[in-house]
């Protein structure tokens, strides 16, 4: 059964099409990933699916309810961890979790128990009664994740949830979210530019400039690319690129100082390449395909090329007054 159905969805800001006619379905219990660079339209899509934004055109059903016409029913079936801060500095961690429990009409006994469980998972037990204004960026993020899990929604939207988390917490959080997906049949809709995170997904939609340019399992997406990736840096990249094209008929892509090649058998190819190029090879390496390469293959650009450093993604606005 489909728990999310999107058909011909368009969102315009003025004449700019932030989401440009996308359609997809997400199955109940599925872990669905939305992978794309900054400004691709991920958050805009989530805002529409969570009733915060009105679509310009098209239709979206979440848990069987229309997101523009049955907002209340949609809201009852979803949970969300926002990409940008959504905490109140003047409340404590515990108060945030409790407020959330009451907003979602979770019985007191249940939310009390979950608060304990989640505070431990995100490592905030001993800061439960501290005001959020005393929290670091990572602690805020952890609290927001815990809050999103207080009620057990049918669909959980996670908008770049683990950006800025340290590795340990990231692993703990992911173990918990995935076990939740299995135990409670929660559908997870994740946006990310983090490749390791995207690997967990059952299926991934690659989105760019408001369009879905590929949608498949991570394994199938990787098959779109050749078997291995060879990265080579030479004294004269443009010349090397030309020779590679002429000699092996392979289109090399230039990323930063490197040429990136998609090759059937990387380990055997590298010595040949070093031998036969007329320009000096300064560095060379080969590895298996990642989702990053898939993105590069599909768009000709690196997903990390544009915009900000992903780790600084939720640096808060400077706090004033209050």
């Amino acid at each position: 059964m489909n728990v999310i159905e999107v058909k011909g969805l368009v969102k315009k800001f003025g004449s700019f099409r932030a989401v440009d006619n996308i359609s997809f379905e997400v199955d109940s219990g599925e872990f669905f990933g939305f992978l794309g660079p900054n400004g691709a339209g991920k958050t805009t899509t989530i805002n529409i699916l969570t009733t915060l934004l009105k679509p310009t055109e098209g239709r979206a059903l979440v848990a069987g309810h229309d997101v523009s016409r049955e907002k209340h029913k949609v809201r009852k079936s979803i949970g969300i961890v926002f990409q940008e801060g959504s905490l109140d500095d003047s409340l404590t961690a515990f108060e945030h979790l409790k407020f959330h429990g009451v907003f979602y009409d979770v019985p007191k006994k249940v939310y009390r128990a979950r608060i304990e469980e989640l505070l431990e998972i995100v490592g905030l037990e001993d800061r439960r009664n501290s005001l959020v204004k005393t929290f670091s960026g990572g602690m805020r993020r952890r609290l927001e994740i815990a809050r999103g899990l207080i009620h057990r929604p049918r669909v959980l939207f996670l908008d770049e949830p683990t950006l800025g988390l340290d590795v340990q917490t990231r692993i703990l959080v992911w173990d918990y979210i995935r076990s939740l997906g299995q135990r409670e049949d929660v559908t997870i809709f994740l946006t990310t530019h983090n490749m390791e995170e995207a690997e967990f997904a059952d299926r991934i939609a690659v989105i760019d400039h408001g369009n879905i340019i590929a949608l498949d399992t991570p394994a199938n997406l990787k098959k779109l690319v050749g078997k291995d990736i060879v990265m080579v840096q030479t004294a004269h990249n443009a010349q090397a690129k030309k020779e590679i094209k002429e000699r092996w008929n392979v289109e090399a892509k230039e990323i930063d100082e490197h040429l990136v090649l998609e090759i059937e058998n990387g380990p055997e190819f590298t010595p040949v390449l070093v031998r036969e190029l007329s320009v000096a090879v300064e560095a060379i390496s080969t590895r298996g395909v990642t989702l990053e390469d898939v993105f590069l293959h599909l768009t000709g650009r690196s997903i990390r090329d544009e915009g900000r450093d992903p780790e600084s993604g939720f640096q808060r606005k400077l706090k004033i007054g209050r």
Binding site: T51, H72, L87, D88, Y104, G321
Partner: protein, 261 residues
Amino acid sequence: MHFLSVVYLIWLREILRQWRDRVRIFASFAMPFLFLLVMGRGISAGLSAFGVAPSFDYLQFIFPGIIGMTVMMTAIYQSISVVYDREFGFLKEMLVAPIPRWTIVFGKVLGLATLGLFQGFIVLMLAPLAGISLSGELILKALPVLMLLALSISSFGVALASRVKTIQGFQAIVPLPIVLMTFLAGTMYPLKNLPMDLEILAKIDPLTYGIDLLRQIFLSGTMSDELISQVTLFPWQLDLGVIIGFTLFMLAFASFTFRED
């Protein structure tokens, strides 16, 4: 039941926010003193220097105005919390939750009104400084009026704040209604012998009716009826009716501005 607990929590949040901010607590106690002891006494002393000292105690006359103004200013200023919630993202947490919009509006309005009423109460306790003796009866009569005033102005503030999207914008716009309402309402002078245009505006200003009513309540023990009728405008029934009507209208208006689109 569920919705009532939601309204309660949203109300509680406004109170906690105020309570946990020391600067705000200090300001909330200091402002009323300033109004009364500096502005009230200053103006009344200044008048006598002109040789136009009125036939009644000016400090007594201005006191109800100061209470009304305090409640109004607090309620409007505090409604900036709606803009903060938008700017810092907590509004999203509320908007995406399965709670009707009116619970957010009512929780906010009740919270802001409580803060306004609290300020009004502090000023009320200062009445003896203005030469008005406090009685149980006076307090019982004054509090409901202050509450209505606080509710209506908070609703106005929430409606205003729901339209203004930035903190800077709100801070720029908010002195306009405050100054307009304060000076049109006869806070510091009797609304007599006004030019036509001002008189019409004064009658539109809802604060006029609130202060008129407060004045009748506060002065009934200290001034002669004749003197009171000289410095007030309408029968108390009319004042009360207008304030209740205005409160209901403003509550509905605030809910309307927050509706789903």
